[in-house]
Symmetry: C2
């Protein structure tokens, strides 16, 4: 596959693909002239990478869990991330609700709205 085909199938950009290669996440098997040629399974590999990225893994972590194959390694890392993910989802939900309410609120000044104030009160509450 040409890099353009990979782009079409994944929606990732050339810059992203180059970057993933630079940090050792993917590699092209050969070159056609200057051009990188990829095997078909690159798409599945990128799906794993993107799934992990959406889950908040750093690229370095993804390198770690996908290249050092031992099951226990990625299980350990993944377990920690799962808790973090749950917290982030909860955070986003709070932000979503606060913003959604601000949009629907009839109050002329949202800062006067007790519902919105309750949202604000929750922002630093988790940090305690």
């Amino acid at each position: 596959m040409d890099i353009g085909d990979v782009r079409n199938e994944t929606g990732l950009t050339t810059a992203t693909l180059h970057h993933y290669e630079e940090v050792g996440l993917i590699s092209s098997t050969r070159r056609n002239g200057l051009r990188r040629q990829y095997e078909d399974d690159i798409v599945e590999r990128l799906a794993v990478i993107v799934l992990c990225r959406r889950g908040g893994f750093t690229l370095a972590e993804i390198v770690e869990i996908t290249t050092t194959l031992p099951r226990r390694t990625w299980r350990r890392v993944a377990k920690n991330k799962l808790d973090e993910l749950d917290r982030r989802i909860a955070d986003l939900q709070l932000a979503r609700d606060g913003i959604a309410h601000a949009l629907g609120c009839p109050q002329p000044d949202i800062m006067q709205c007790e519902h919105f104030q309750a949202s604000l009160a929750g922002v630093f509450a988790t940090a305690d």
Copy 2:
């Protein structure tokens, strides 16, 4: 309030506070010697900022919606962000489920697990 008090009440770092000041999101009312002194309402202002940040607003966007007061301005920006937020929550949920299943899966090689494969299939599905 001293910057240390703000840190204690919000959990934000000195670097973050300095950065927010630099981009014009907050300001100290005066100095005590070299030290920034903040009014009490800085905490509420930071709560709004952090809420927006968690919602995926950039700092520039937060400057825009909190300094140009008109209600219509922030309503327009917020509406767009709300959709984005819903997509991101759905993304995180997908990533969470994929990773959670990988952790509980009895299959020796997760790549052989059809459940995990289904998660991977969904990764680029939304991009189509």
